[in-house]
Every structure is written in structure tokens, then in C-alpha cells.
Symmetry: D2
Subunit: 341 residues, 4 copies
């Protein structure tokens, strides 16, 4: 259930609504960032009539039931696109954000070289993993805090915003200290303890889709975060698991328009993991923009052939520059700019 | 194995190669439409050394093994894009072909209204099913020959080329009499008897991907057709089956660049079946063009709410006109025109 | 909709019902082999009230709507298990039928050796492909009529009933001349022209599940056959396509109890294609019986290492004998015999 | 790489091997519970020749490379089945363990009634969730510590061993205090931080398969646990995600024999989540035993119609008693007892 206030409703009228929600034993969730004030109501609302209860209160424009199981992230409750403020850089909204960098931070030279290269080509966010969840316990697991420090240094030199993965609640405070955007990886999409913890801090989150997560489950995972108070969530499509073996995953382009209609959260696409084949990353990047994505996250490595992980899907700086040109052209064709600083 | 002749090789030099192939108990498949003459060699070639056998013959440029199990459809054997001549209209090549029309031919009024509408909006091909394979034996199965006659009448009035499904070998001669392009449906992708029969006639084929076909199996199905002599084959991505239930199928956008690198055949995308949700068809159509598709096939119905099949995914003529505008813009952005007559 | 007659209803009462169905513009399908006479009603029955129309006619026990989209194959319409008479040998019912033999008929020696071996071990049906639909046009496609003749000779020598695949409508009359049971392969599960043709002849059909067919679609495919008059249909689970790559397919054991509750048709399981790994075929065969399968179809080759197809999943005669012992024990444990002659 | 000692090798000979491994900068993992002493060698062994390095040391029987990416859990390294000692009750080995109980602990009455019922029917383990990871943040999340206390009380009254899910590292110490076996849920299968933490404690683990995890990934997840020193790991197949919608998941029966050949760890099957339909749970339970499972975990609720979660797939105590009878018969047929106390 949610209640939308009239444009000029007073604070007192608004508080009366909130008080009534609490009096019913339910939880009010004020939704910020919308033109009109809206309150989502969470709890056992079955059998209650929104209009009866709230419709006649002064200052209330309308009181309606939310039909979807995801509430706070739904467009029903908030029509306008969410624009996340990442230290002054917008994620979401008209301009398309480009995130780029290596799969893993491997060394000072590597990350600084990558950062300067993607900055020069026009990226505004630097990606790079310091904590790497790997299928095998015997593989390279990342530089950990050392990697975070290098990312921070790269930010200082370039002004890029840093996107990096947080893999557990233990290292969350440390990662949050260094990162501008916290990435939740595909394997952690339903790690509810982690979702609740990142929901309780004030930091933008990039929530990757699980390998076999339905769109509904993915939005429910976002709802976990938002229900704890953190509305700064962007969704990242990174390919699902199917029977096809020629591509690493099957990037689900269909998710882009479906999400844009169901939720107000920004939608980012990861062509690098999605198709997993370097020569085809630009084609998928173009498709993502054409389909309506609000951002791209692209693996770029100064020397892909020497990468400790994902080298086969990482672009060289020169290839990324070429991709950026194509991205600008496609974005222009649909009337959107690529975010520039 | 395949043998490429030098640019100015003589007919006699070429025939000497063909004779030698036959003398080895193998089958020569000359590949037409390439700048240089090429012969694919089919049969038990394991253990034979292409260079030893053919490399020193006069007029031979190179003799190589084909690494892929699909041979004649592979880019290894023929580098240039195949352009299919559909009665003077090219399918494949630089210009992007647009096919549009209703799922089923339902009546004279319906198909003529649809044909004129899609023609006006800029399509060059008219789609429409006269024989409809349906999941249930109790559902509408199409107008059959009556439907084919109506398609022919629509062609006469509009000049559009007619794409229609052939569902079995029994009705193949009849459908081939009326159609310009024969569509093989997803459920028939591995109906090898049908593939062999359409491989033996001189008619362009639009081969849809099976619901759970890998890209390799799909190319092998195309190879069935081509190995019988019909090189006029286009591939149509129409969505695969995954666990996602919010969309009808999962249109596999990744297949577009992968196919374009593996095969010389044109690649068409069907956003209507692919996502199966009318509001999202244009986004997927834009993505398909951006990813490199050579054509689109779109369901358009004058009155989708009255359609006997697939109404929920059919565009109105007005929606299709808007989609065409967007398609032109995206095509322009990647330097390709939409095919016009 | 279906109408069940009272146990002692007269032929005249029954015919009155059939006449009334026809008078309504609908099609009556009498269901045979049940204790009570039942007529399924096919056609546009929406809006009609079964009880109003037929409930008060003399001799009618009940008139009800069928809730499932599959009608004639549904347990709602016919409660008793269908037992198919294969020239005196029952397929379906209490005794579990064992079908065994090579993937392809390769030579007289091979098929006769296989037939005698599986007969000796206790099989009652001989499987063997004479027409082999293969992914590649360049692979062995079967011995064709020569293969059928060898199967007939093996039947003569052993008394085994012959199960062999029919791959298209062209060769259907020839295959039907030799075979006792016509197998429809997975790739042809939705080849509706073929289904309609085998529905119009009086020959038992073994309908394999398509690689990505839902249970509902599979039952609808069976309905295609039965709606043309041939009620002698058995279903064969042979594995579905998933993301798992360690096994050839994913044998869907869940389909067995689900089918047994939804349909009266016999359910056969094919562990050989299902898991595709020789050492694990017996485990899956045991599981299939324990789950309630009415039959097994097993690939057995006198010399699997020399097989032209599927050698890696074919058992040797000795391994098959051991599997039969295990099958008898599991069947005994659930109170069912293995069918013996 | 792994090194197997001769049966009568001395402790000094064994230590010489361990020292040499360390001297090479590698990590020795002694494998316990085998007839012969074995040491797995973890680290960058590429380029090293096991036989050269260790083959001639006294007391060494053989030194070989492990071909699989999972090492310590592989049958190559340890041939004998692992039998986990759960407070005197064996999990793994010849006798089949039965775990049963409600999805969630809901109340004292409910869990005690369930515990006594499943004990009476012959179970040796009690399942019940105190921490429930739920798709929606607004659903019942479990009784938490209160639930754990009730499970402990049920154990005291019945002697059953308690299996319960641990959902994060924060609550791990608390759950480990009460539980006999810690279940890692499907969504946490690749929560590597949690895997590493449970790998560092001395408590049996039941590792469920992720919804779209390959068998290889699942074994790698087990390797994470074992590589930290905890060899008491059992694997639990609980269904994978496919396109089929009639069943909740697709229980992958094929995983049972494949796992039994690849790993020495016990394999448990969860028919309740696997098929998700109460009437069909017994058929899948029988199939699991017939296929070689070492245990079953079954949802049983005193009043399924009132269950707060999973009621549609929970058996009544009477149904469970009937299932146990069937389980005993099938187990007997393959020469294995049901574990009894």
C-alpha cells in the first residue's frame, strides 16, 4: 500500500498520515526524491482498504495498493527515475554512465594505467576488484586492502568514481571506506545478510543479477536493500545461465526494457561478463544502450593477455576508446548523452 | 577441407581440382557468390593433407581444413557476406531488411490492411502465416491455401516480398508456389527431411532458431539446407527458452555478433516472439540493429486486440511506424541504411 | 468437456449423447478401454454448461468440463491406465516393459547378436534405428530399408517386438510396415504433420519428449496423435536440456510421477540418452523404476567401442544382464514384475 | 598432486614427505579416514613431476597429479566413502540416513510434535529452520535463537540429531552452538566467506546445491570448506532451475551417480524442494535411494495446511511413515539398510 500526498501538503498533514500508519501496527517508508511526497506502507495490509483509511485525510492525493511483491523499488510507488548522487556524479537519469577498468586490481602500475586510459576515453567510473570471489579456493583472490588503496589513489589522480565489489559483511566497513559504489556480485544477489547490511549504510550499491535469478527475485533482492533505508541502488544485468556454451553467459537484453517499466532504479549492463568474448563486447554494449540502459560497466585491461582474471573478455584501452565512440553515436541516436565530467 | 582458387584461375584449372576431389571419393561443393572461386570438400577427409593433395596444383591459391563442424555456411570457407536475391530485393548486405505483418493471415481485409500499413511505414517484406503449427490440435491452424492466395494478392497490391512458414514437406510445393521466402519455424529447425527438401529447391529460406538450439546446432541445420545446394539461407533469432517467466522467450542478442563472426549468412532478429511483450518490442528491435542484425521481422496487426494469435505481442500500424523511425536512427548511427524500395 | 455413461447404459442412450454433441456443432471422441463408456467433446465449448446439456439424459452418469488443455490423454477423462497391445505384448499396466538394443542398426551380425543378447537377458522389445536424424548432414544416417529388414529378421528369430524411429511422413508407410512400435524422436515431438499422420494409423507410438519441451507441451503433442484416433501412445522421458555439461542431458525423473498423475498413457524412461554416460545408466534405470516408470528403453551394443553412434552410452550385453537383475529387484520392491514372455 | 604412503609407512617417512612439500613452497593437506595415509598438495604445482619429486622417497606408494580442479574432495585422492560422525550417528557409509522435520520451526508444540512423529517413523535426524532466508524482506524470517532452543529441546526429548541452516557468518557461532549439522542453503552455495568460516570449525556441514550450479562448481564449493580443514561435508541435491514450471525445481537425479563416482563425500537428496509437490515426494525419495543416495531430507509438518512456509510440499506424519516403509523396501532391494538407532 502507498499514500501519495498532494503537491502542497503540509508537513503536519504528512505526519498525520505517518502516525496513522504506525497506529495500525504497520511500517511507514517515506520515499524521497520524487516530486510529490509518497509513503509506502509495509506490513500485513491484507483486508485493509487504502482509500477508506487514508483517502479522506487532508493533504492526501491518493492511497493505493501495490500490485507487485516488490514495493519500494516499484514504479507504481515512484514514477520518476531514481538518480543516484555518487559524490556529485549522477548514476541514472538522462546521461548514460560508463564504468570501466580491470576485473581485478593487480598492481599499482596496472590500475593507474587502466584508470588514466579509461578516463581519457571518457569513462566516469573506475571498476576494479580488490576482493575476488573465485570458484576455486586455490585461485587469486584479490589484493584486498592493498587493492582498495590503489583504487583510492587512482581516484585521486583521475577524479573517477570507484566501483568495487564487497563480498561479505566482515569486509564491508573497510570496502565502504574506500569505494564510491559498492558492487554486490551475482553469487551474492541473495546473500540477504549482506543486502541488509548495505541497506543500512549511506552508499550507492550496484546489485548484479544472480546467474539464474528471475527478474522478480532480483527486484526482491533490491527491495531488501531499500527496505532498510538505502534507496541508492542500481541494478546490473550481467548475463544469465542457459544451455548455450559458445558464450560465457547469455546477456539478457530483454531485462533492460522490462526493468525500466517495472522499477525506478537505474539499470546498468555488463557486456564483458554477459557475452564473455572480447571481440563481441562492443556489439553488446551498443545493444544495451539502444535498449535503454542507463549505464555500462566494461572490463578494460592495459594488457589483457597478462590479466590474472577475465583476460579473454577484457578490452585493450584502444578497443575501449573505439567502443566509447560507438556508444556516443548510439546514445546520440536515442537522444541521450554519455555522461561526461 | 576447402580449396580456394587464385583470382585468375582458369575454368580448366578449377575442373582439375573438382575431378581430383571426385577421384578421392569425396564430394565437391563449389561456393558461389565469392570474389574468388572456392570449393568445399565433403566426406571422410580425416588423415588427408589438403596442402599435399591440392596445394601444388596450378591455379590453386590455398587448400585448408575447415575447423568447424559446419562447413559450407562457415566464414572460413566464404569470407564475404551472403546477399540473397529475393526477386530483385536483397536480403543481407549493408541495407537492413524489414519484414512485418500479422502472425496469421486471418481475412482478406486484415492482410491487405496490414500489408498497406507496413509498406507505408517502410517495410519491404510482408510476413503472415497461412499454415500455423499450434501447440494444441484444437486451436486455429491457419487459412492454408486461401491464406497463401491472400498473401499473393497483398504482394500484387504492394510489391512487398512475401515471407511465410512452410510446416511440412507435403505442403512445400504449394507454399513455394506463392511465397518469396520460406520460413522454417523454430519447432522444425531440426526436421531434417524438411531441411533437405528446401535445400533442393531454388527459394530463399528463413531458418528460425529452435527453442533450445545451440548456435552450433542451428548452423548445422543451415548446413543441411546448403549441403543440398540451396545457399539462399538467412538465420532468424527468435528467443530461446530459459527459466525467466516474465518474458515469453529470452531473445539471445549475443547470437547476433557470434553468428556474424562464424557465418556469411544473413542474420535476422524477431523481437516480437523474442520478448513477446508489445511495449518492449521497439527496444529489442533497436538493440538488434545496434548489435549488427541484417534484418528484423516484426508482428504487426491492424487490430491486435482481435488477433487470432499473438495479439499481445503484435504492434499496431502506428506503433510500427514509430518503430521504423527509431530503426532508421539506430541504423544510421552504425552507418547502415534501412532497405527501401 | 466429457460425458461418462452409467455402467449399464444402453447403446441407444450412448448414441443419443453422441448425436446431441454433433447437433451442437462439436466433435465426439469416444474413449475406449475404460470400464465405463466415456465421450470427450472437442470444439468451442466455452459458455456451455455440461450438466445442463447432458446431465439429465438417460444413461448419463456425469458431464463435466476438463480443466487441462490436454483432454483425451488426461486422467480426468480416463482414470484407468492405458495398456497398449503390441501384437499380444502389453505396454503399460502392472508389468514393466524393457526395450533394449543398439542406437543404430549397423549390420546383420550386429543387430542379430544384440537381439539374442537382450532377449536372453529378459527384454521383450528390440530397439534399433534404421533412419537416424543426425545433427550433421555428413554423419551416418542409418541403413534405411535394409535396416528395417534386419530388424524384422531379428524379430523373427527372437520374438522380440521391434521399436524403431520414424523420422518423416514420407518414410512412415515403409517404417510402419516393419515396426511394431513407431518411435517419434525428441526433435520431432512438435512435428505436427508427422503426429497427425501417426494418429491416423493403427500402430503403437512411443513419443519422446522434446529437448526443452514442458510436460504440458509434451502432453499436447500426445493429444495431437490421440485426437486423430490413435490411442496407442506411450510417452518416453529422455532427458531435457539444462546448463549442466557433465551429463549429456538432464533426465527429468520428476516427470515420471507428474505424468502418472496427469495422464493414463504409459510412461517409459530412456536412461541411456538421459544421462548419456555408460557407467551411470543402471543407477538411472533403477531410479526410473522406483519412481513409477512403466518401461525402460536401454541402448545395448555387442561392441560399444565400435558403435557408429552413441557408443559411450551403450551397455555391453553383460552390463545389460546385470542391469536387468537390478531392475527385477527394484520392480519387485514396489510390487511390480518385469514383463516376461 | 597427491602422495599416497605405503600401508606400513612410518610416521617419520610421512613427515619427511610433508617437510619436502613445505620446502617446495606448497601446502600439505593430510587426508584422514582412509586405509592408507594420503597427502594432497595444494599450490602452484604446474611443471613439477610428482614421481620425480616424491616417488623414490621411502614409504611412498605413489605420487600422482589430480586431474580434477577439485582436489581434496575427489575420489582420485581418497577412494573410500567418507563417513561423517555426527555425535555417534554416521552420515555416509552403507546405512542410509533419514532427516525429516518442518521447513521452519514455528512453535514449541509444532517442532516437538514433528520431532516425535519423525522419530517414531524412523528418522535419525531432525530438520527445521530457525533462520529462514526468504525471497521477500516482508516474509517470516524464522524464530532465530528461540527456534534453535526449541530444536535443542526436541533433540533432548528424542535423541534425534539436529540439522539446521546457518545463513551468515554473524550467526554462525550461535547456530553452531545448538546444531549437530550445519546446513548451507542453495543461495549460499557460493558464499565463500561463509564456506571458509564453516571450513574452520569442527562441525558436520550439509552443503546444498545452488539453483543453477554445475556439479563442478558444487564440488569446488565443497573444496572451499575442506581446504580449510573441515572434511565433514555432505552434499545435498535439492533441484535445479530449468524451464519446467509444473514442478518447483527439477530434481537432478543424474547428479547422484555422477557425484558418487567423482567424490568420496556423502550425497543426500531433498525430494521436498526438488519436486515441490507433496503427492510426488515419495516417488522421488524412492528414486533417490535407488540411484544411490546416502541420505534423504524430507519436509514433514504436523499440519502442512497451517505451515508458515512450504506447506504444499510438506508431508503429514502419516504420509512420512508410509514413505519410510517404501524407503526401507527400496534400500533393502539394493542391499542397504536405513540407518536406525
Amino acid at each position: 500500500m502507498f499514500i501519495a500526498m498532494k503537491p502542497h501538503a503540509t508537513q503536519a498533514e504528512f505526519e498525520a498520515v505517518v502516525d496513522k500508519i504506525r497506529a495500525l501496527g504497520l511500517t511507514p517508508h517515506p520515499i524521497t526524491g520524487t516530486e510529490r511526497k509518497v509513503v509506502a506502507v509495509i506490513g500485513p495490509t491484507t483486508g485493509l482498504d487504502p482509500d477508506d483509511l487514508f483517502g479522506t485525510m487532508t493533504g492526501v492525493a491518493e492511497a493505493l495498493r501495490v500490485s507487485q511483491p516488490f514495493k519500494l523499488v516499484s514504479r507504481e510507488v515512484k514514477e520518476e527515475d531514481t538518480v543516484i548522487d555518487v559524490g556529485g556524479v549522477p548514476l541514472g537519469g538522462k546521461a548514460i554512465a560508463i564504468m570501466a577498468g580491470p576485473c581485478s586490481v593487480e598492481s599499482r602500475d596496472q590500475i593507474l594505467e587502466a584508470a588514466h586510459a579509461v578516463k581519457k576515453a571518457g569513462a566516469t567510473f573506475l571498476r576494479g576488484g580488490a576482493f575476488k570471489p573465485r570458484t576455486s579456493p586455490y585461485e587469486f583472490q584479490g589484493l584486498r586492502e592493498e587493492g582498495l588503496k590503489l583504487l583510492a589513489e587512482a581516484r585521486e589522480q583521475t577524479g573517477l568514481r570507484v566501483v568495487t565489489e564487497v563480498k561479505d559483511t566482515e569486509t564491508l566497513p573497510m570496502v565502504a571506506d574506500y569505494a564510491d559504489v559498492l558492487q554486490i556480485g551475482a553469487r551474492n544477489m541473495q546473500n540477504y545478510s549482506l543486502l541488509e547490511k548495505v541497506g543500512a549504510i549511506d552508499k550507492p550499491i550496484l546489485l548484479k543479477r544472480g546467474l539464474s535469478a528471475t527478474i522478480r527475485e532480483w527486484l526482491m533482492a533490491a527491495e531488501y536493500i531499500v527496505s532498510k533505508g538505502n534507496f541508492k541502488v542500481a541494478l546490473c544485468e550481467r548475463g544469465i545461465r542457459t544451455f548455450e556454451t559458445m558464450t560465457r553467459n547469455t546477456l539478457d537484453i530483454n531485462a533492460v526494457p522490462v526493468l525500466k517499466s517495472l522499477t525506478h532504479l537505474p539499470v546498468v549492463v555488463d557486456p564483458s561478463h554477459g557475452i564473455g568474448l572480447r571481440p563481441h563486447v562492443p556489439a553488446i554494449a551498443r545493444a544495451a544502450i539502444a535498449a535503454g540502459a542507463d549505464g555500462l560497466i566494461i572490463e578494460v585491461h592495459p594488457h589483457p593477455e597478462k590479466a590474472l582474471s577475465d583476460g579473454h573478455q577484457s578490452l585493450t584501452p584502444a578497443e575501449f576508446e573505439e567502443l566509447m565512440k560507438q556508444a556516443r553515436v548510439i546514445a546520440g541516436a536515442i537522444g541521450r548523452p554519455i555522461l561526461a565530467r
